[in-house]
């Protein structure tokens, strides 16, 4: 009779982890040089051969750990801790990252579900460089929005973290609280807040870099916060979607910060830069009916960017310059079908090589500024309006108003005058009020030279004053009207030479 082989034996059923097996521990030579025999429960074998978290040695053999912190602590520099199951931590525990130890989540989710204020992962005030990838980190169970609490990732030193994973927080998601004011770098990942945070669910400390990331606030809430930076921070190549019409701005950047190649979709103000900061090559939309697209303050610049808003608030604009010192807009597009394209509230501001479309004003100069090489269109009000006590310089521009005067100077103080040179200024309004340029007050010293002034109604004027508005108007071309000028006083007494050169005086 042939001997029975193991494969001939009927498979057992009803095996539990308490059942016993025979095991030879090769490292134990007390019974035999080849190893010692023992019984073992199946559960003991499972614990030795698998686990929630593991580290592979150079031969690909894993050592497993029941806790991720235990695995990270055991890992050597250059090793990767792998996650083999979804895991929810309900105790008040922050996982401390280790320098040069990566975490591969293998598609799994790590959740910190606790009502306290702990952050899910931290650098514990030690500089760390590592990569968190291929998984999800969730922080939930707490309603606290306090700064530095309840983040998926909290860094308090100059760490560099590649977050090639998804971070989801009930409130806060990511905070860098850099005490030593050197670089903190966060690269990649999806950063999602369920309901936003009053203090911003992503807070970047001084000199931080945040790039190649997707940021989203899922739910509409009264206190939606998105990204708030400290000085010298850079946000590059990010997509930020903020839902909700809350108080904070989608991106709020303080001094000397840059926002580069970002797409911002907001239901409040898209971006506010507070001083000496830049928005470069970025695209901003705001669905709010009362907010600005980009607010520019204190010697800041908007360069090669686009801002589109749906605001109906007459004091807002797709790009608005306000507060203290002048700022600059270069090569950018502002589109606001229901309010102003660009609004300038600060003397000494510049708009270069840009496009501005406004349902109200194309450009509203609430204070003096200069606009050069720019195309401006307005739907209902003026293409460019110099309002209040402001003046303006308009050079090499195309300005068109669809249903109003194209340029209106309503300045009331004589020291502020407007200068329009080498520009095409057109009113498409087929109405006797559709003037090319109109002065609503009797100020004096304005200059209009080498312009093409066009009206669509013969009863309108190329230049209309308020009775005694004093204007140097020379070398202009007029088209569309019967009377080119009305109610203005020519200030220039010189005449052209035989080649049409003229000195205004």
């Amino acid at each position: 009779m042939p001997s029975q082989r193991l494969t001939d034996i009927t498979s057992s059923t009803g095996i539990t982890s308490n059942d016993l097996i025979h095991i030879v521990i090769t490292a134990d030579t007390s019974q035999n040089p080849a190893g010692s025999s023992y019984k073992a429960r199946i559960s003991q074998v499972q614990a030795g051969l698998s686990g929630r978290f593991g580290i592979a040695n150079s031969n690909g053999v894993y050592t497993f750990y029941p806790k991720i912190q235990t695995a990270i602590t055991a890992a050597s520099a250059g090793q990767t801790v792998e996650v083999f199951t979804d895991y929810e931590e309900t105790n008040a525990i922050s996982i401390i990252l280790k320098d040069n130890v990566d975490i591969n989540f293998n598609g799994h989710t790590y959740t910190l579900n606790n009502s306290g204020t702990d952050n899910a992962f931290i650098d514990n005030s030690v500089v760390v460089e590592c990569k968190l990838y291929n998984g999800t980190i969730i922080r939930k169970g707490s309603t606290s929005e306090a700064i530095n609490t309840n983040n998926c990732l909290y860094l308090s030193e100059a760490s560099t973290i590649i977050t090639d994973c998804t971070l989801i927080g009930d409130k806060n998601v990511l905070t860098t609280n850099n005490r030593s004011a050197t670089d903190v770098t966060i690269i990649g990942g999806n950063h999602i807040s369920i309901s936003g945070s009053t203090n911003g669910f992503i807070r970047l400390s001084s000199d931080s870099v945040f790039r190649n990331a997707y940021v989203e606030c899922i739910n509409s809430a009264a206190t939606v916060g998105t990204i708030i930076t400290s000085s010298n921070s850079r946000i590059t190549n990010c997509i930020i979607n903020s839902v909700g019409s809350g108080i904070p701005n989608t991106i709020s950047a303080t001094s000397d910060s840059q926002i580069i190649k970002c797409i911002v979709n907001s239901e409040s103000t898209g971006i506010i830069i507070l001083s000496n900061s830049n928005v470069i090559n970025s695209y901003v939309t705001s669905n709010s009916t009362s907010s600005n697209g980009i607010i520019v303050r204190n010697n800041s610049q908007v360069i090669n960017s686009t801002s589109i808003i749906q605001s109906t608030n007459a004091s807002t604009a797709a790009i608005k310059i306000d507060t203290t010192t002048g700022s600059t807009i270069i090569g950018s597009t502002a589109y606001a079908p229901n309010t102003n394209g660009i609004r300038n509230d600060i003397s000494g501001s510049y708009i270069y090589n840009s496009n501005s479309y406004g349902g109200d004003h194309g450009i509203l100069f609430a204070n003096s500024g200069t606009v050069e090489n720019t195309s401006v269109i307005s739907l209902t009000l003026n293409g460019i309006n110099s309002a209040g006590s402001a003046g303006g310089k308009i050079k090499n521009c195309n300005v068109e108003a669809i249903s109003n005067s194209s340029i209106l100077s309503s300045a009331g103080l004589s020291q502020y005058v407007i200068q329009v040179n080498n520009s095409v200024v057109k009113s498409s309004w087929n109405n006797s009020g559709g003037h090319s340029i109109r002065f609503a007050s009797n100020t004096s010293g304005h200059t209009i030279s080498s312009c093409h002034l066009i009206t669509s109604n013969s009863a309108a004027n190329a230049i209309l004053g308020n009775g005694t508005s004093g204007v140097n108007y020379v070398n202009n071309n007029y088209q569309g009207m019967t009377a080119a000028t009305a109610s203005i006083v020519q200030l220039t007494t010189n005449v052209q030479d035989t080649r049409n050169n003229i000195l205004i005086n």
Partner: protein, 137 residues
């Protein structure tokens, strides 16, 4: 025959505080639809044998001395063209175009801020404009 280097500047805005908005040394330059403002020097300064063309531009010097010319061509050269510009000085003793026996075709310019528009400049246009302001040269 040597190569002719021409530098073209269009739709460009320059605002400088410590130098000329444009200083040309060794090549020919064409400036179209630009705005140049210098706070402490000439708007455009030419000091070589290159040829300068400036059209449809606003050139302003805010240097408040009689050296604050809008355009300064410090070379006894010819072939320069300056048309359809608004040339501004802050100082009434400065000039819209200051040359050194320089031949310039200048037409349809507006000068502002000075007492004397042109010094050291020879008009190279021999024709005159028609009654509609058009001119051929």
């Amino acid at each position: 025959m040597g190569a002719v280097l021409i530098f073209l500047i269009e739709r460009t805005n320059v605002f400088v505080s410590r130098a000329g908005a444009l200083s040309q040394m060794y090549c020919s330059i064409k400036v179209n639809n630009c705005s140049f403002v210098s706070k402490s020097s000439q708007g455009i300064a030419v000091s070589s044998t290159g040829v300068l063309t400036v059209s449809n531009s606003v050139v302003e010097s805010q240097l408040d001395t009689n050296a604050g010319h809008s355009i300064d061509i410090n070379a006894s050269t010819s072939g320069h063209t300056i048309v359809n510009n608004h040339l501004i000085t802050f100082n009434s003793g400065a000039n819209a175009i200051n040359g050194a026996s320089t031949g310039v075709a200048y037409s349809n310019n507006v000068y502002e801020g000075m007492t004397t528009s042109l010094v050291g400049v020879t008009q190279s246009i021999t024709t005159t404009s028609d009654t509609r302001g058009n001119i051929y040269f």
